[in-house]
């Protein structure tokens, strides 16, 4: 990846993060997980997936399923950047005049399927990948899961099916931000060694820094990692990435900030001093 491309992606990711922060008010959003997967989503839509505003109905397009649906602000922000969603619509978040709410739904252009109940879309993506293969089409099917989401047993059932069907057109991306909703994953339901688990379930696995575009480029260029096997990219990320005031804070998962806090967080994103946050921390799911 050349320097110019890298700078382009980094600048876009900053703009998407700003959009996410601006959605974390007047009702709020799941800001922590949205910021952890931002670079992944920006990378995938600009460099990996054959998806654009003109081919959203094309059966030959690639697919991205966001299984940990609560990070949908990262999708809204990215879609606004690449022309799939009108930028003005981001201001409609949580209002009756639009369908931009806390989880994905198909009234929003570019969203392939609704999500929100964890552990659903890995099996849905498996079905889509299976049909693409049965039709002899070359689509790639990507599904982003959370790491806490992997607690749900349905994910592992889908892995067994995908391996049995030898779906090497399926790419499972784990946003490994190391947090459940309220606590660190390793303190509650330890997932490591996560790569070994996926390998034991029949996948090819690579681990990358989910904020390093060059590293992601190297990994995704090598898909499928093993012929005849689904690929798993475990992307190590930081919850709340880009805004140190909320990075890795268990209590800043779902946030509903005041207007002043939003402006302070945006300034912090752009390199100014850390925001002082006084709004109530919310621990819900």
């Amino acid at each position: 990846m050349n320097h110019e491309t890298m700078q382009h992606l980094q600048a876009m990711a900053i703009r998407v993060r700003e959009s996410i922060i601006r959605m974390a008010t007047n009702g709020g959003c799941f800001i922590g997980a949205s910021l952890s997967c931002t670079d992944l989503v920006v990378y995938l839509y600009t460099r990996f997936l054959n998806v654009n505003k003109d081919n959203l109905e094309d059966p030959q397009r690639d697919y991205l399923f966001l299984s940990k649906g609560h990070d949908v602000p990262a999708l809204y922000g990215t879609f606004a950047e690449i022309g799939i969603l009108e930028k003005d619509r981001l201001r409609n978040h949580l209002t009756a005049r639009d369908d931009l709410y806390l989880h994905p739904n198909r009234n929003v252009p570019g969203i392939e399927f609704h999500a929100g109940s964890l552990g659903h879309l890995l099996s849905v993506a498996t079905g889509v990948a299976l049909d693409c293969r049965l039709r002899g089409q070359g689509n790639r099917v990507v599904v982003i899961t959370g790491d806490g989401e992997l607690d749900e047993g349905s994910n592992w059932e889908a892995c067994l099916i995908a391996a049995a069907q030898k779906l090497d057109n399926l790419v499972i991306v784990v946003d490994r931000n190391a947090f459940q909703a309220n606590v660190e994953t390793e303190a509650l339901i330890p997932l490591e060694p996560l790569g070994d688990k996926f390998e034991a379930f029949g996948a090819g696995v690579r681990r990358v820094d989910g904020h390093d575009f060059a590293g992601m480029d190297a990994a995704f260029s090598a898909v499928p990692f093993c012929g005849g096997k689904p690929s798993v990219v475990i992307a190590d990320t930081v919850r709340g990435r880009g805004v140190p005031s909320i990075e890795r804070r268990a209590d800043r998962w779902f946030c509903d900030f005041t207007a002043d806090e939003v402006e302070a967080l945006v300034r912090e994103l752009h390199g100014e001093a850390g925001a002082e946050l006084t709004s109530e921390t919310l621990i819900v799911r």
Partner: protein, 307 residues
């Protein structure tokens, strides 16, 4: 008194109680440390939690499990039915964010079939508190019961009014049956109460019944309301099939009792995801909107009567 404090008081009073959650810590956030080893977070796995709770109950424990209502009643449904219901185990299942309380989360999180699902399971009882005070008052009785219970968790503040002591299977007649009588439960009680006052001011005498336990249901209260009113209005943030409207219709048919019944509920659809009061307004369930809809139903009924 909050749910958390009442729960902690009861749980710490007897080692048979265990508090469990499938990483839904919101309703427990302030008591987790105090509960110590009597608290178990199993992670995001509702089926696993219900099965584990059943195993604990087989050994004499009374687990009080917590999850979002949608995942508790739907994802884990067969485990609730087969392990808890068929096993007749005293597992207490607290479902959060039911009905309109899921606000802007969207249809994946909208638990609007929970009453229908849970009441179909033999042995499983259902409690739908109108507010947190009622929840706290009933909690010792529910937890001490040998039955499995589904609790439609509701942390909203109570409406200021005189209340009747909680008893299983007894509805609370808040306002005596009138020309119109509203039957409701859970968080919408607050809005139904406001609607009843508004209707009364507008010249329509209006009764109000807080159903409290939907299973066992207070059949006597339902039949009495039907006999004494010109119209029963069911108000619920639930699908119109399977919930209180179904319960009332089944009860009236079984008791050979006939009365016009109107259902203000969700008819084969999910609701618009918005913040709570925006949902109430958009969907026509604020006190004001309910009063308008009920008045229209009552006037429509009156205009149909012969002569």
């Amino acid at each position: 008194m909050t749910y958390q404090h009442k729960l902690k008081e009861i749980v710490l009073s007897d080692p048979k109680y265990l508090v469990m959650t499938a990483e839904n810590r919101g309703p427990l956030r302030n008591i987790i440390d105090d509960l110590g080893s009597r608290f178990l977070d199993v992670g995001i796995m509702e089926q696993g939690m219900i099965g584990t709770a059943a195993g604990l109950a087989l050994r004499g424990r009374v687990p009080i499990v917590h999850s979002l209502s949608c995942f508790l009643t739907m994802r884990a449904f067969e485990f609730v039915r087969t392990d808890v219901g068929l096993g007749k185990l005293p597992v207490k299942m607290t479902g959060t964010l039911a009905g309109f309380l899921s606000e802007a989360n969207g249809p994946t999180h909208q638990s609007i079939e929970d009453i229908g699902l849970m009441r179909m399971i033999p042995n499983v009882n259902i409690f739908c508190p109108a507010d947190e005070l009622e929840l706290c008052e009933a909690l010792p009785i529910i937890l001490e019961s040998p039955q499995p219970w589904y609790i439609r968790f509701n942390p909203r503040r109570p409406v200021e009014r005189a209340t009747v002591a909680f008893a299983v299977g007894q509805a609370e007649v808040v306002r005596k049956p009138g020309e119109v009588t509203i039957l409701t439960y859970g968080a919408l009680f607050e809005q139904a109460y406001a609607a009843a006052l508004r209707l009364e001011r507008n010249g329509i005498s209006t009764g109000l019944i807080n159903m409290r336990t939907l299973k066992p249901v207070d059949e006597c209260a339902v039949v009495a309301a039907a006999k004494e009113s010109g119209l029963l209005v069911i108000v619920e943030d639930h699908l119109s099939t399977g919930g209180l409207y179904s319960i009332v219709c089944e009860t009236l048919v079984a008791q050979n009792c006939c009365c016009p019944v109107v259902s203000l509920s969700l008819n084969q659809r999910w609701f618009k995801p918005l913040l709570y009061h925006d949902v109430l307004d958009f969907e026509g369930f604020s006190g004001e909107k309910l009063a308008e809809r009920i008045a229209a139903a009552w006037e429509g009924l009156a205009s149909q009567e012969p002569g």
